[in-house]
Symmetry: C2
Subunit: 203 residues, 2 copies
DNA sequence: CTCCACGCTAAGCGCTCGCTTACAATCCAG
DNA sequence: CTGGATTGTAAGCGAGCGCTTAGCGTGGAG
C-alpha cells in the first residue's frame, strides 16, 4: 500500500491522495507560502490545473492535510490515555505515542504544528478545537496525577505545556537520517517526561 | 530607549532599526514568505523603496534579524554556562536564561527558530554554525554532568535535544497575554529540566 | 451505439510580488 | 556658496502567483 493510501484511506480518488502527499512534502520542507500550486501538481505528476479538480483552493488542500493530521494525533492521545490504569502509566503511553508519531510522520507533523497559521479563519478554528482537546487531555491527566500524589509539579498548566513541547518540537528536528527509531525515541522521551513530572518511573 | 534601539544598539541609522523591528513583527506573526516588503515598509512608516536604502534585499533583512538573534541567544548560553560551578547549577542557569529569553523576546525568537529555512544558503550556513555552538555547549555540559554523576540519562544527545526543545518551543506558544513572566517561566522550566536529567534539584 | 459524468490539460487572466530607476530634500565639509 | 554623501520618495517593470475557462479523452449506464 502506498504511503498516501496509508495516511488517508478514506480519500478518493487516488490522485487526490497523491496531491495531498505532494502538498505535505512541499509544505513541510519549504512552508505553505513558499510552495506554489505548480510545485504541488508537478510533484504529484499532474498539470497545475489538476489540483482544482479535487480541491477548491490551495488553502483547502492544506486544511485537508492539517485536519486529518490533527485528528490522527488526537486519536492517538485518546487511545493512549484510555489504555492505562494509573496516571503515570497513562502519561507514559501518551508521550511515547505522541513523540513516536511526530517522528514517524515528521513531514505531516511539521505541517500540522507549524503551518496552521496559514489556514483561513474558519478552518483554523476547526483545528484549534482539536488542539485544545489534546491539550485538555494532557492537562487533566496531569492534574489528576498531582491530586493522587503520583506527580509533583509547581504549575500544572506549565508542566502540561512542557510535556507537549517535547513532542511537538520533534517534528522540527527529526529527519529520516536521525539515529533513533520513532519507537525508541518515544520510549526515551516517556522516561524523561515522567521524571520531569516527579513521578516514580518504575510505574 | 526604544525597543529597536535596545535590541540592535549597533545598527545605524534609527530608520534601519525600525525596519528590522517591523520585519520581526511581520515575520513572527505571518511568516517570512507571507510578508511583503510593502508590509514591512508601511509598518515602519516609510515608502516601499526605503527598505532598499538600508538592506540589499528582503532576505538580507531577515538575515540581519536572524544572525543578531542567534548571537544573543548564544551569548546568553555561554555566559550562563560560565557563571556556575557544578554541572547542575550551570544547566539550571542555561535553561532559565534560554527559556526566559524565548519568552521575553518571543517575536524575535520566533523568527530565529522558525524562519531560518527562508535564508539563502550562505546566510543559512552562518546561523547554522551559531546553532551548533549552542547545541554543543548544552551537550558537552550534559556529558560532563553524566561523567561526574550529577546527571543520569539514557542517551546524552537525546536528552540535550529535549532540554533545548523545552526552550525553543516557548517561542511558538508564548504571547504577551501569557500568565507567567519570562523570569518565572524560566525558573519553573529550570526545575523541570534538572529533574528530567535525573539531577538533585537542590543544586 | 449514444451520451454524459468524471478526471484531466492547455492556455492564459488579473494581480501582486521583489526590486529598480530617476529624482528630491537635507546636511555638512571645503 | 558649492558639491557630494546620505536618506528618502514616486512610479513602475518583469516575473510568477492562485485560479479560471474551454475543451479533450474515456468508461460505464441506458
Amino acid at each position: 500500500m502506498s504511503l498516501a493510501a496509508e495516511l488517508w484511506p478514506d480519500v478518493q480518488p487516488e490522485t487526490a491522495r497523491r496531491l495531498m502527499l505532494a502538498g505535505v512534502e512541499s509544505f513541510a520542507q519549504r512552508g505553505y507560502h513558499a510552495t506554489t500550486t505548480r510545485d504541488i501538481a508537478t510533484n504529484a505528476g499532474m498539470s497545475p490545473a489538476a489540483l482544482y479538480v479535487h480541491f477548491p483552493s490551495k488553502a483547502a488542500l492544506l486544511f485537508a492535510i492539517s485536519r486529518s493530521g490533527h485528528q490522527q494525533a488526537l486519536a492517538l492521545v485518546e487511545q493512549a490515555a484510555a489504555s492505562a490504569e494509573s496516571p503515570p502509566a497513562a502519561m507514559r503511553a501518551i508521550v511515547e505515542q505522541f513523540v513516536a508519531w511526530h517522528a514517524r510522520r515528521h513531514l505531516v507533523a511539521r505541517v500540522v504544528q507549524y503551518e496552521l497559521g496559514a489556514l483561513p479563519e474558519e478552518e483554523y478554528a476547526v483545528v484549534a478545537g482539536l488542539r485544545r482537546d489534546i491539550e485538555r487531555i494532557v492537562r487533566d491527566l496531569l492534574a489528576a496525577g498531582v491530586e493522587s500524589g503520583h506527580f509533583h509539579v509547581g504549575d500544572v498548566g506549565t508542566a502540561a505545556r512542557a510535556v507537549l513541547s517535547l513532542g511537538i518540537d520533534v517534528a522540527r528536528w527529526y529527519s529520516d537520517r536521525s539515529r533513533q527509531s520513532p519507537a525508541a525515541l518515544g520510549r526515551e522521551y516517556g522516561e524523561l517526561a515522567l521524571r520531569m513530572l516527579g513521578a516514580d518511573t518504575t510505574a
